[in-house]
Symmetry: C2
Subunit: 124 residues, 2 copies
């Protein structure tokens, strides 16, 4: 089993060390193992969990909610239904968010076209 130091994890996932420590403190990552000197050792499992945290953050799930989800993972199979419900609802929120952004992009595209035309006309 390979372990990574915080600097390696930071480089690998492109996340500041301070943020990794902050995530652990906030409970987004289960208690990370330590070496004899107290330094964090990230196992493969913990890096997989970090990948999940990143996925949820990319879709803008708030930290409190991510913590709840990670807590449920630690609790084991008894929480699977709650996790399914959370992910299903979250997925819908993300789809709604993507729709809103996609719709709003049309307003931006209009401006781009308008400005492009105005500049073209001006040059003629």
């Amino acid at each position: 089993m390979k372990y990574c130091s915080i600097s390696e994890v930071s480089a690998k996932f492109n996340i500041p060390e301070s943020t990794l420590r902050y995530y652990e403190k906030k409970g987004l990552l289960p208690r990370i193992e330590r070496d004899e000197a107290g330094r964090r050792l990230f196992s493969e499992v913990q890096m997989a969990l970090l990948q999940t945290v990143i996925c949820l953050k990319n879709t803008r799930m708030p930290i409190r909610e991510i913590k709840q989800y990670m807590d449920w993972i630690q609790e084991g199979d008894a929480t699977i239904e709650r996790r399914l419900e959370m992910m299903t609802k979250h997925k819908q929120k993300v789809l709604d968010e993507i729709s809103l952004m996609t719709d709003s992009l049309q307003g931006i595209d209009e401006k781009i076209k308008r400005y492009t035309n105005r500049i073209r006309e001006e040059r003629s």
Copy 2:
């Protein structure tokens, strides 16, 4: 020309009055006209500008940048190229953001499938 009070605009755009005042103070809306009693009167033009602010906010443009854009609109035609450049760059950021969310949705979908299967098996 029809004017709207702040409460009407708040209802129409579903934005708290406090937020509308905050936007004006931050310079996202040009100085709103007032009646004799000092109350805000939103003209059609200002509501169109507000719609633009909302569009940019929906796509997560930061307030400072929206302010810059609105300032350029007030400055007139001399700023059209800068506005075009800003909108073009912003559009790309929004597309990148949508891609990231869309990709991350796959991780969420996997979890949903896994949990769904586990629950189905458990019931059998």
